[in-house]
């Protein structure tokens, strides 16, 4: 090869091509998504999370949870993530707009955590009727429009699923798309509160647990699990994160936060194990991971229990909204 100019230009050109193609253009397409909300602006998802959630995310990063746990639910026609009850719909870009860093993950030596917060047992009052109604609404609404994959602008939801009329308003931004009335009943899963109003609570799709331990996926359960994973599941190969906990002598009364440990993991008489602030943050983070809220971009999956009639609509394997962003390369 003679001549330096072609070499340098080629080296630069190939790099620039890939940079623009795989990062800049996607950034135009899905780089500034807004939360979706209804007309009144009361039902906003997702919401920015609390400070404890953010700090918990850093604890999650620092201790390498991402190397074993993914946080993405794949569509039901691709994989059985939904059948494993890791979510009630596939994950979409909009679910992650406030996540930083984002932990999509590349490994499942542990369970997927995208909806670990949604799996927490419901708090005292049951949100049953309202939230149960919320789930099927978009799924049903999606089916009439499924034959016409929207060829509208990126970020426009397919068929703006919640809308009662089947024809999608062209060009309408999701952020202001009209929702179904049913969705509004759902409480917001914001903050680090464990009040995650899983739409699925009524039928208890996730195993509710077991003697001698806190209810599965509750905050107290997470603490015990982080401190002594094999006390909960003898086959677990998760490392114990004991350094996130403090073993101390009980001064006066036993702390309300103290872990309910049993067997060889239990501290000696007169001692207790309490979470450090980092441990509380990482549990707050886990409890805040919740993608159960319906997204207009994505139809919720069939397997929705409790209320029948939400059988998988015949969407022809179409990818969710962003894929419709006008790429001829979209598969299938």
């Amino acid at each position: 090869m003679k001549g330096l100019a072609p070499l340098f230009l080629g080296i630069f050109g190939t790099f620039a091509f890939s940079w623009v193609g795989l990062t800049v253009i996607p950034n135009w397409q899905i780089g500034s998504l807004n939360p979706q909300s209804d007309e009144e602006g009361t039902e906003i998802y997702p919401r920015p999370q609390s400070g404890m959630f953010a700090r918990g995310g850093h604890v999650y990063a620092a201790n390498g949870c991402v190397y074993c746990h993914s946080q993405q639910v794949r569509a039901d026609y691709i994989a059985d993530d939904i059948e494993r009850k890791w979510g009630n719909r596939r994950s979409a870009p909009r679910d992650y707009i406030f996540e930083r860093p984002v932990f999509l993950g590349k490994m499942r030596m542990g369970q997927d955590l995208a909806n670990i917060g949604a799996r927490a047992p419901a708090p005292e009052e049951s949100p049953a009727p309202a939230s149960a109604a919320a789930l099927p609404a978009p799924a049903q609404a999606a089916s009439p429009s499924s034959g016409t994959p929207p060829a509208t602008a990126p970020g426009t939801s397919p068929a703006s699923a919640g809308s009662p009329n089947a024809s999608p308003p062209p060009g309408q931004r999701t952020g202001i798309a009209s929702p179904s009335p049913g969705q509004m009943a759902n409480a917001t899963p914001g903050g680090s509160s464990p009040a995650a109003p899983s739409a699925q609570t009524p039928s208890a799709p996730w195993p509710i647990q077991t003697a001698g331990l806190p209810p599965m996926y509750s905050a107290a359960w997470h603490h015990v699990h982080l401190y002594a994973p094999r006390s909960i599941n003898p086959d677990s190969n998760m490392p114990a994160y004991r350094f996130l906990y403090e073993k101390r002598r009980i001064a006066g009364e036993r702390s309300a936060e103290a872990l309910q440990l049993s067997g060889s993991d239990a501290p000696p008489q007169g001692w207790e194990v309490v979470p450090t602030y980092d441990a509380k943050c990482v549990v707050a983070y886990l409890m805040g991971l919740n993608q159960s809220h319906p997204l207009k971009d994505v139809r919720s999956a069939g397997g929705a229990p409790a209320t029948g009639g939400a059988s998988p609509p015949a969407v022809q394997g179409a990818s969710p909204a962003p894929a419709a962003g006008g790429s001829p390369a979209a598969p299938k």
Partner: protein, 492 residues
Amino acid sequence: MNTTGIPLKDPAVSAAAGDTEQLERAYIDASTRVPVLMFYTSAIAWLIVGTVLAMVVSFKLHSPDLLSGISFITWGRLRPAHMNVMVYGWASMAGMGTAVWLMARLCRVTLRFPLLLAAGAVFWNVGVLIGVGAILLGDSTGFQWLEFPRYVAVILFVAYTLMASWAVLMFRYRRGDQIYITQWYLLGAFLWFPWLYAAGQLMLFVVPVQGVLQSAVTWWYANNLLFLWFGAIALGTAYYMIPKVIGRPVYSYHLATIGFWTYALFSSWTGMTRLVDGPFPAWMITASIAATILTMIPVATVGLNHHLTMQGYFPLMRYSPTLRFTVFGAMSYTVFSIIGVLISLRSVASYVNFTQVSIAYTHLGLYAFFTMTIFGSMYYIVPRLVGREWRYGSLIKLHFWASAYGIGLMTLMLLAGGFLQGANLENPGLPFSESIESVLPYLRGRSLAGILLTVSHFIFAYHFGLMLLGLGRTSTVPTFLNPVEAETSGGH
């Protein structure tokens, strides 16, 4: 000089000219001694650190209570520490050492501005050291392959700028018009890396992109680091070492040109295959899958070119350590790429996406392909820097076989275990824990492979240490793996 521009060993007929060339080359080699040995020594030190970390990581994965409960040696910190030591400590520094030496040789000038390189090497070591410390102390960024915190990225970037500017300056002062194939790859690598690193840092930390795009940028960066930085250095090295050792020009320049440009064009688009079926616009993933399939073009052309160059000379692998390692690396490039295509296909990826298969893939690229090629180049270069030949042919042989069996076993274990894990994962009838149970025996097998690799690295480090201390053989004949029969000339 023949038309290929590669400084081949001249035939004995032109003895006088040969002497000048030899002398000139000796001068150039001598001028590279300090910087290249600096890079190599640091790289091998990092290799040993990374190997020890790897062993602990591997054992902890199937025995989670081993050394547990201490924050800075918890599995989730050791794993990124191991990864970053290997990527930025071992592979990058070793690759730069080889690249620097090749650059000086191919520009046919004595090395200028050694201080730029020395300073770069020092800064780079400091950066990696602080970065690994930060990861162990819990200051990881959480982005895979970019776990080093921002302040470390600044140090690395400064170090790198020094080295890249050296490369461009050297190139500026080169003699001769011809730019040999190796130089395309090396120039590419030297220029791609800073852009890549800067783009990654910029889009993740300075002007962070939103949501899932962080993952897209991370994997775009990671795959490009693998291909455009490590892959380019390794391919460039192979293009030099194979013809050099067998004393024969590269079979076809045209094939090489096609191979280079298709490699640059397609492999840079493969990043999103790590995120198949993820929450992304489908076109991004499809484009990456298509690009991955198209990387078969450079694989075929490069493979064919090497094969036709080697044709009739394969028996030399019996003697020359350099050739044996390099050919192993070049063949692994083909295997690595084919497996990359297979696991990127949607139908396969839905099974193996979240399994040990991706670990196997990364190790194939970084170890079987890159590291083995670089080992080969070290066996060639180090004697020319220290003026001694490798002391024990047997140790080189041991190094080779331990490495080859180690990485082979490791890949097999991770691939087989990963496929099983994926099949169980995609069988909703089985509980999740079943998928973990099924992969554990394979992870124990991987630890076994890790022991082999550990042995091989310690042997190599010991041997290199002897060379560094001047305890190599004084001889005019290079160290061969097997005694050379009467008339076999062979290279070294």
